[in-house]
């Protein structure tokens, strides 16, 4: 069964938009939009970490929170608050961002990142990671690189990048591989896989996703610079 994308090429991302400094109370914040998925990330801290046994005397730690808003889906109300799914995504987001971040200047502290999805159409963890890495840079923290994330995968037997919800739930079967990457070195900091596919198909999907990450990197870079370009 061959799948044909209605509105874009197989290696094309959905239209993107990014903005930095959207939450004034936070020390760093960013919005990242890809297609109909919109993520907002806000960074607070570095601040004192409690309980004390979680503190690390050598470095600060990163703590992410992921949440889909109640009205964010299409139709059914998303149950608000922490769930098994959102806790897992928060964990993998933390693990995806940690390798890029250097908090040794702030021992015994915590940096909190709050990611809210105000509208979702698949690819939320990737959009969240993109927004969070921009927000961390906006906060002026030391980083080795930005982190870009997008999903690759298969719809039917066609390799594609950046699946939307309709494609993820394609009746002929779909495989979804969200990855996060540090674009300068090409290091992968997140890779998950949902579905069954062959080795060759995996390589093909990864290739598309890596190329997608580079497009996202340019959008992130432009957005960060745009904040200081005006005036």
């Amino acid at each position: 069964m061959s799948y044909k994308r209605p509105d874009r090429k197989e290696d094309e991302l959905r239209p993107m938009e990014a903005k930095v400094g959207v939450v004034k109370n936070a020390i760093g914040s960013a919005m990242f939009k890809i297609g109909k998925t919109i993520a907002i990330a806000a960074v607070y801290g570095p601040r004192e970490l409690h309980p004390r046994f979680l503190q690390n005397a050598e470095t600060g730690i990163l703590r992410c929170n992921y949440n889909m808003m109640a009205f964010s889906g299409s139709g059914n109300r998303v149950r608000p608050g922490p769930s098994r799914r959102s806790k897992e995504i928060a964990l993998v987001t933390t693990k995806a961002l940690e390798p890029a971040l250097d908090l040794t200047e702030f021992p015994k502290t915590v940096v909190d990142v709050f990611i809210e999805l105000i509208q979702t159409d698949a690819g939320t963890r990737c959009a969240g990671i993109c927004a969070a890495s921009m927000a961390l840079a906006d906060a002026g923290l030391n980083m080795k690189d930005l982190v870009c994330a997008v999903s690759g995968g298969m719809v039917g037997d066609v390799p594609v990048v950046d699946l939307d919800y309709d494609e993820e739930s394609y009746e002929g079967g779909a495989v979804d591989i969200p990855i996060a990457m540090m674009p300068r070195t090409g290091e992968i900091t997140l890779m998950q896989l949902d579905g069954v596919l062959s080795k060759e198909q995996l390589h093909e999907a990864m290739k598309l996703a890596k190329k997608g990450c580079e497009d996202i990197y340019n959008v992130q870079k432009e957005a960060l610079k745009a904040k200081y370009k005006e005036e």
């Binding site: 570095p46 702030f106 840079a137 980083m143 300068r184 870079k221 960060l224």
Partner: protein
């Protein structure tokens, strides 16, 4: 032979390659990876000979020895005060560093500094895990009474102070206010006339907002002249610390 890939005063993001080759050295805000010099934070590039640094545009206060800071008394015990200086942990002000007065055994410490008081103090020591000792002994260090305190982004403090304190002494001259700028981004402004105080605060916030553009001194000057009329340039000697060594 190395080559620079960026222009002076260009805005860079973390991870951007600034220069290639071993001819260049990474300074603050940059690091080396193999033969490349790479930016570590969002900021403006500054090239000084072989040194490439990135001047940050945002960020929290990182305490350093000999910093003049403005702190708020949070708590006290039998022999010391705990002062919030805008870092995650409070700084410790020991009794022997607090005042040159003789403090009698068992004296009530709140008569010197009470909870909620603001002080201008100097950091004497910072440990590796960022525990801080501060002192009140030194020129210009005192309890801050009256006036108002505003917070600015700590990385903008060098711009507010200016070269050899030029910016801040200009604001002082035009507004006739006493001003103390802490390295932690807190600024104390005190004047006889509240409208003068307000003008000084406006000027400082303007510097914070426009700190990344050039020709800032002239902009601030014309802003002050608009409100206070022209004044002649007087070169003052100031002992303000601007950019950190």
């Amino acid at each position: 032979m190395g080559n620079i890939l960026i222009k002076e005063k260009q805005i860079v993001v973390p991870g951007e390659i600034l220069a290639e080759g071993m001819d260049f050295l990474p300074a603050n805000g940059a690091f080396r990876e193999n033969d490349k010099v790479i930016s570590m934070r969002l900021g403006l590039v500054s090239v000084n000979g072989r040194l490439i640094k990135v001047i940050p545009l945002a960020g929290k206060y990182v305490p350093m020895r000999d910093d003049l800071v403005i702190g708020k008394v949070q708590d006290m015990n039998y022999s010391s005060w705990f002062i919030d200086v805008g870092y995650a942990q409070d700084a410790v002000l020991n009794m022997r560093d607090a005042t040159s007065d003789f403090i009698e055994r068992g004296a009530e410490l709140s008569q010197y500094y009470d909870i909620g008081d603001f002080v201008a103090a100097k950091i004497t020591n910072v440990t590796r895990s960022k525990m801080m000792d501060i002192t009140m002994k030194g020129p210009g260090l005192k309890k801050l009474v009256g006036g108002r305190i505003i917070e600015v982004t700590p990385v903008k403090v060098p711009r507010i102070v200016g070269k050899q304190g030029s910016m801040i002494s200009m604001i002082k001259k035009y507004t006739n206010c006493q001003i103390i700028v802490g390295q932690n981004g807190r600024v104390w402004v005190s004047g006889k006339d509240p409208s003068d105080e307000h003008l000084a605060v406006e000027a400082i916030l303007m510097i914070e907002r426009l700190s990344h553009i050039s020709g800032l001194t002239d902009k601030v000057k014309s802003f002050l002249e608009k409100h206070k009329g022209k004044m002649e340039d007087v070169q003052e000697n100031t002992n303000f610390q601007g950019e950190r060594k």
